[in-house]
C-alpha cells in the first residue's frame, strides 16, 4: 500500500508513456488500413499535430455544464482503467494502484466514461448525438454480457478478482496463459473486445458518413482534444487489461507494446475485412455466439 508522491510520479510517467504509445498505435493502425486500400495514409506523427491543433483553436462554445463535464468523465474512464491496472508485472514502479482496485472496478470504469459522454453529448442537443448515444448504450449493454461472463469465468477459475493475482497465476510459461487454460472465456472476451474498440463492423456508434460522427458531433477544439487524448489512453488500457487477463501480462514495456499492439490489431484486422453492422444486427450478434461461449466457460467450472 504505497501512496507516496514517488509512486504518484511513476504512475504519471506511465500515463505519459501509455498516451504516446496509444497515439503512435492509432496512427500505425490507420497507416495499415491505408496500405490495405493502396494508399500511404497519414504520417505517423499526425495524431500529435491534430491534438496540438485541437487545443489551439480559438472558438469554444458550450451548451451547458454537462457539456463541459462530459469529456472529463470520458477521460476519467480511460485514466481510471489505467490507474488500477498493473502495466508491467512484478515491477513496483509500473503496477500503478492495482492493489487498491480489482476487476469489478475496472468493468465499472469501462461504462463510466460512456455514461458521462452520453449526458454531455445529450446536452449538446444535436439529434445525431442522440442517435449515436442510443446506439452506443444499447450496443455496449450487449458487449458487457459476454465480457462479464468471461470475467466471472476466470474469477471462478483463479478464485480471485485481483488482476495482479490473475497475472501472477499465469506466470510460468506460454502454456499457463488463460488463453490455453480457459479458451472459452478468452474466446467470449476477444469477441466482445471487437465491440469495445468500436472498429468496423461495430463502429455504428460513431458511424462516419451516416450519422455525422455520433455522440461527439457538437464537440470541437479542446473538448474534442480531451476526447482524443482519452481515446489514445483507453485503447492501450483496454488492450493491457485483456493482456493481463488472458495473455499472461507483460514482463517489460517491450512485451507490453508487442502484446497490446497485437490485441488492438485483432480488432483492426476484423474491421478491415468486414463492413459495418446495423444496430439490431450487432446487438443480436453479441447475444449469440459470444454469450453462448461465455455461458459455457462458466458451466465447465461449476
Amino acid at each position: 500500500m504505497d501512496y507516496s508522491i514517488t509512486k504518484f510520479l511513476w504512475t504519471l510517467l506511465g500515463l505519459f508513456i501509455v498516451l504516446n504509445w496509444g497515439m503512435l498505435m492509432s496512427s500505425t493502425m490507420r497507416r495499415i488500413g491505408a496500405r490495405v486500400a493502396g494508399r500511404y495514409g497519414i504520417p505517423w506523427y499526425q495524431p500529435w499535430i491534430d491534438l496540438v491543433k485541437l487545443y489551439s483553436l480559438r472558438t469554444h462554445l458550450t451548451h451547458g455544464t454537462m457539456f463541459y463535464i462530459g469529456p472529463v468523465f470520458r477521460l476519467m474512464g480511460g485514466v481510471g482503467i489505467f490507474l488500477f491496472l498493473p502495466m508491467v508485472y512484478g515491477n513496483p514502479h509500473w503496477s500503478n494502484y492495482s492493489f487498491s482496485g480489482d476487476l469489478v472496478l475496472i468493468l465499472y470504469f469501462q461504462f463510466f466514461g460512456m455514461l458521462g459522454m452520453a449526458l454531455g453529448a445529450g446536452e449538446g442537443g444535436q439529434p445525431f448525438s442522440a442517435i449515436g448515444i442510443s446506439r452506443g448504450l444499447s450496443q455496449f449493454a450487449t458487449i458487457e454480457v459476454p465480457m462479464t461472463l468471461a470475467v466471472i469465468s476466470i474469477a471462478i477459475q483463479y478464485q480471485t478478482l485481483s488482476i495482479s493475482d490473475i497475472v501472477a497465476a499465469q506466470q510460468g510459461g506460454f502454456m499457463t496463459w488463460t488463453l490455453w487454460t480457459n479458451p472459452l472465456a478468452t474466446g467470449a472476451a476477444m469477441l466482445s473486445l471487437l465491440g469495445a474498440f468500436g472498429h468496423s463492423p461495430f463502429n455504428l456508434v460513431k458511424a462516419p458518413n451516416e450519422i455525422p460522427i455520433g455522440p461527439p458531433t457538437e464537440y470541437h477544439g479542446t473538448f474534442l482534444g480531451v476526447l482524443r487524448t482519452n481515446g489514445a489512453i483507453l485503447h492501450v488500457a483496454e488492450a493491457a487489461l485483456f493482456m493481463n487477463l488472458f495473455f499472461g501480462g507483460a514482463g517489460s514495456w517491450f512485451e507490453l507494446i508487442i502484446k497490446t499492439f497485437l490485441i488492438y490489431f485483432w480488432s483492426v484486422f476484423v474491421g478491415t475485412v468486414f463492413p459495418r453492422f446495423r444496430i439490431e444486427q450487432s446487438v443480436r450478434w453479441f447475444l449469440k455466439v459470444p454469450t453462448i461461449l461465455g455461458i459455457l466457460a462458466i458451466i465447465i467450472f461449476l
Partner: protein, 230 residues
C-alpha cells in the same frame, strides 16, 4: 449599399412569413406535468456577434500555425459540380491524407470549407450556417471559376457570382473544373498562407460582419434564421 433587395411584401407585418415551423415559439408539456416555454430562436442559437480573436504573437503562434497548417480538417459539404473532385483525393492516386488533410462530417470539427463550384442561393444559406458554426481559425477554399466570377453560370437567376461578397475566401482555385491536383495545390497554398500567419479571414469576417450580413440578406430572400448562427 444600394437598394435593399431583402425588403419583401411581408416586412411591415408582425409575423415572419418565412419562419420555419420548428423555430416558432411554443409551450411544451414536460414529463413532470409542468409547462415549459420554448423559443428556439433564443434557446437554440447564439445571441452574440462573432468577435475578433487576436492571434498570439511570436514563436508560440508560429508553432500553433504550423500545427493548424499540417492538420487541415475539411468539411464534407459539396456545393456544386466540383464536389465530385473531392472524393478522388481520398483514393490511392491522390491520397490527401499524406499532407495532413482529412475529411470531417460536422462543421464543429472542421477548419477548411471547400466551396466546390457554383453556389446557388439556396445552398448559400446552408453554407453560411455551416461556415459560422466552424470554430475559428477557419479557412475557405473556393474551387472553380463559378466562385470567382460566376463562370458559366454568370447570368443564372439563382446562383451567386462572386463568393467573396458573402464569405471571406482564403484561396481561389481557377478552372472549370480544376482537377484534383489543382485542389491539392490549393491546399499547399493554404498551408503556406497559414504558416505565414496570413490566413486570418475568420477575424476579417468578424470585423466586417455587418457588410457580409447586408450582402447575404440582399440575395437570400427568405432569411428565416437568426443573424448569429454559430
Amino acid at each position: 449599399m444600394e437598394k435593399d433587395m431583402n425588403k419583401h411584401k411581408f416586412e411591415d407585418l408582425d409575423v415572419d412569413k418565412f419562419l420555419a415551423p420548428e423555430n416558432e415559439k411554443r409551450s411544451v408539456l414536460a414529463p413532470d406535468g409542468s409547462i415549459v416555454e420554448v423559443d428556439p430562436l433564443k434557446d437554440y442559437f447564439c445571441q452574440d456577434r462573432p468577435e475578433v480573436q487576436k492571434p498570439r504573437s511570436g514563436p508560440v503562434e508560429n508553432f500553433l500555425n504550423w500545427a493548424r497548417a499540417e492538420s487541415l480538417w475539411v468539411l464534407g459539404f459539396g456545393t456544386g459540380c466540383g464536389s465530385i473532385e473531392i472524393p478522388p483525393l481520398t483514393t490511392p492516386r491522390f491520397d490527401m491524407f499524406r499532407y495532413g488533410v482529412q475529411m470531417r462530417a460536422t462543421p464543429r470539427q472542421s477548419n477548411v470549407f471547400v466551396i466546390s463550384g457554383y453556389l446557388s442561393v439556396k445552398t448559400l444559406k446552408r453554407a453560411i450556417r455551416a461556415y459560422e458554426q466552424m470554430p475559428s481559425p477557419k479557412y475557405i477554399i473556393a474551387l472553380g471559376s463559378c466562385t470567382i466570377n460566376g463562370g458559366m453560370y454568370y447570368d443564372s437567376y439563382n446562383t451567386i457570382n462572386r463568393l467573396d461578397a458573402y464569405m471571406p475566401v482564403d484561396v481561389y482555385i481557377a478552372g472549370c473544373m480544376p482537377r484534383p491536383e489543382a485542389l491539392l495545390a490549393g491546399f499547399a497554398k493554404l498551408k503556406e498562407l497559414i504558416k505565414a500567419g496570413k490566413a486570418e479571414k475568420a477575424n476579417e469576417y468578424a470585423e466586417n460582419f455587418d457588410w457580409y450580413k447586408t450582402n447575404q440578406k440582399k440575395i437570400i430572400k427568405d432569411w428565416n434564421m437568426p443573424d448569429f448562427n454559430w
